[in-house]
Symmetry: none
Subunit: 413 residues, 2 copies
Amino acid sequence: MEAEIISVGTELLLGQISNTNAQYLGEQLAALGIGLHHIVTVGDNKRRLKTSLRAAWERADILILTGGLGPTQDDMTKETVAEFLNLELILDSASLKTIRCFFSRRGRHMTDNNIKQALLPKGGIALPNPNGTAPGVWLEYKDKIVVILPGPPFELQPMFENHVIPRLVNLLGDKHTVIKSRIVKLYGIGESQAEEIVKDLVASINPTLASYAKPTEIQYRLTAKAASDTEANNLLYNLEQKLQARLGQYIFARDEETMQEIVGRLLKKHNLTLAVAESCTGGLVANWLTNVPGSSRYFKGGVVSYSNQLKTTLLQVPTEMLHRHGAVSKEVAEAMAAGIRSITQADIGGAVTGIAGPGGGTSEKPVGLVYVAVASNTGVYSRCYQWHGVREIIKQRAAQALLNLIRQHLLEK
Amino acid sequence: MEAEIISVGTELLLGQISNTNAQYLGEQLAALGIGLHHIVTVGDNKRRLKTSLRAAWERADILILTGGLGPTQDDMTKETVAEFLNLELILDSASLKTIRCFFSRRGRHMTDNNIKQALLPKGGIALPNPNGTAPGVWLEYKDKIVVILPGPPFELQPMFENHVIPRLVNLLGDKHTVIKSRIVKLYGIGESQAEEIVKDLVASINPTLASYAKPTEIQYRLTAKAASDTEANNLLYNLEQKLQARLGQYIFARDEETMQEIVGRLLKKHNLTLAVAESCTGGLVANWLTNVPGSSRYFKGGVVSYSNQLKTTLLQVPTEMLHRHGAVSKEVAEAMAAGIRSITQADIGGAVTGIAGPGGGTSEKPVGLVYVAVASNTGVYSRCYQWHGVREIIKQRAAQALLNLIRQHLLEK
């Protein structure tokens, strides 16, 4: 089973946006064991899109088109597909109803150009789009599958996962070799350092092991190819055991799990609450924690003490301590953690203070110097880090370091 | 003058890395006024690469290939180009010398497979690569230009800027046209509603106007093609004036500017300080504000009052008010804004409370209901929104809504 991706959009050719949809779909297709040999990007141009459709039609079984489903004139993907296949466009009343609701729910006026978003090539099935007005299309025609998806990633991804993958899986039936993939996430070790430890595993052909360094963690992608789920899972299990044995102390999560989900799960398990005091991360830790649905059950909230004034007035950090040690210090980090814990009556108080840059660094306290601290009924302690990188990267590393310190604290319970 | 990009690499098809080179090159070509109508991604496969070369050879004057210049067996771009054009590969002794130096400088042993990196299709010119071992290739053959560049962006970009752009410019000679682009960002109007107002401008060929909807804003991309910078800038200026006249009330930023940068600039201009109280956004507003370097000058910080307890203890929201109106209400939003302003002594207090979902919604207070409020020395007021979408999208829309309310407040000063 062979797929081809056709990304439609002049903004992609002009380099105004990056084609993240192609990467996302490539990853998803690989996980399904569906071959992908061509990704083609064309602009909002009927003639060139038709030429690309013709080429793809000859070499692929599944054509996946992204972009060009908007209400505007330059959005013409569905129209061009319909012309290419000599299918008329038919108004899908259900989709039109959904679009009308989309606007009325927002108390916004629906303009006529939105009506065309409810048009489908004859025989096509509308794929729901909870995050936008344009439905996707699933079209089975002459032994081929044509899938049309909206351009915005936050519309495309849930649509693909909820409405395309299930159809593809049941299309593949038995005749597919399973490709199963798992991600193992490490914190506290460098990529090359880890590489040395698993060199031999990285060299193996099946299952494969590939590392990917993110600013806040190292990800290992384990991928196994086999005739059955069980077989693939066994290959993955055995490889993961080896990783566990060699790098276990650094592994904190698997697959889609994030550090904040792990922290949340541990808090629920021990029935504990958390509050955080943030200086250099400026709310990023709280933001990550509250991205987890249901986090209100264990996360009380926090204080972003960006100014020294708030450190003293809200977090009860002694002014004298700020003067003697400075805002970026072990003492202040620990006082912030104890302070947020006492004013929120949370079981655990976390704190982070540092210099995110680009300004504010000195020779003895350079940009990238960060202290994270945890306070609990057993006392308060902290760790110091020195990173390099731009402001947002240092914020992310600092946030992850605090979450990891909290995680380790909870694991000792 | 027409270019085509062929990105070579199985890792691109598997979605293991994003094709940032294509975006970079698209941007560069647009700036040079060189047309780009196709970007094709193929794996490390000779047959398919040849097919892509054939198609590109028919429709483009300049073929730009990226990736597949490494020392390993699956790196075969130069070999395939040579075969496709029936040119032999010739060892470039200068390049070989450079590669040897590259290794000796790093005290590393050069393995034989690196020798093949010094091979060039006959007639090709080696493009120096200070950041890696693989030289690029500039080949003029039968009225076509073939450019071969290494995959790693930090090798490709300097090579393109220092050795390809000068050659392209002098190739273009006089017929060199400039393409200039500008982005105008709108808040508070839907894409299709805006489209109705600027239909005629979207239909124009030069300059072009294209819209792109993000969860938190609408972006209009103005692109002008002309013989000179001045001419292009004039076209952009005139189009922007028309947009300003028709949609000015919704325009909040241009080009790379973000809502939080605009808010920061206005705060500095009026020499005012800001603090925020966040419920459903969970720190996202503070995080965005502190992504701006130098924000500590005007941003005092804030409180993430995720639990009702913190709303009363830290933000001084009356318990009775919470009981009567609920945490997600006009009254509580305004009380939070007044509360954060008074406890931080900031000039302006911003607040947001809502239901991000997926849980917590009721029939009268559904998921996506959000109140934002601003408090200042002139009093406090709020706005109510009802959005749809997943948790993180609602958080982003709520954060942007608060920042916009603060921006509008500052504009009235």
